[in-house]
Symmetry: C2
Subunit: 114 residues, 2 copies
DNA sequence: TATTCGATTAGCCATAAGGCTAAGTATCAC
DNA sequence: GTGATACTTAGCCTTATGGCTAATCGAATA
């Protein structure tokens, strides 16, 4: 599973657009069809479809076509990747909070101000 | 604070690149100069500087020049934005886990894998 | 069966991203 | 004050992103 890292690229990239984050937010409340999802956005359908495509290929959502309707739902594992990465970062910087704290405390004794 | 949303664009965009995530990871362990940070990457300095620029303008890192050296450090508030957004999403989908669970279970019978 | 409706494909366009080289600026070390 | 060091600026290139229109395809429906 070395491609976890590459998948993170896609997930973050997908989340870097407000339309796509809104879609993720909407799908967080429950599945919806493409046109349901597209309706709030002032955008041509093909443009919107590109967003859906990026969300799906990044693994943030899942879609399935039934008849002529394509239903979309959230894929929890997508956001979980982000959570995992984020936890790792937090772990890093919290591991050195003590040292930093000491440094800052020392510095403030000499320089004061805020 | 309506621009929180726009700032999220930048933060996610910044994190969508492995070089930049690596820099964030490195800075999580402590501050470093530009050339220290650049050294592990096989990339011309100006290219690397663009990454630093994006990280800084997104609010993920802070930099400060002293003499001819520019020191970079992590800006915790940047990643905190992501954490906040992520919590909001989790809150959404956990509020309806039961219904989702049923839908997902059905859908997964047909597709998905890995 | 003819229409309409939901989605898709194909192509175009402008801008941004991510890389490069070459040349410039400002310290710092001699 | 010469030269090395650490960035910075300017400009170029290629590919990706995010938008559009027009035309197509396959269900559903009248």
């Amino acid at each position: 599973m070395a491609n976890r890292i590459e998948q993170l690229d896609g997930v973050f990239q997908a989340l870097a657009d407000p339309t796509r984050r809104a879609v993720v937010g909407r799908l967080g409340k429950g599945p919806a069809s493409i046109s349901d999802l597209a309706q709030p956005f002032d955008m041509a359908l093909p443009s919107f479809m590109k967003h859906i495509g990026m969300l799906e290929s990044s693994g943030l959502i899942r879609t399935q076509k039934t008849g002529r309707v394509r239903m979309c739902s959230i894929e929890k594992e997508g956001l979980r990747l982000v959570e995992t990465w984020l936890s790792a970062q937090r772990a890093l910087w919290e591991a050195r909070t003590d040292r930093l704290e000491q440094f800052v405390t020392k510095s403030q004794r000499k320089g004061s101000s805020s």
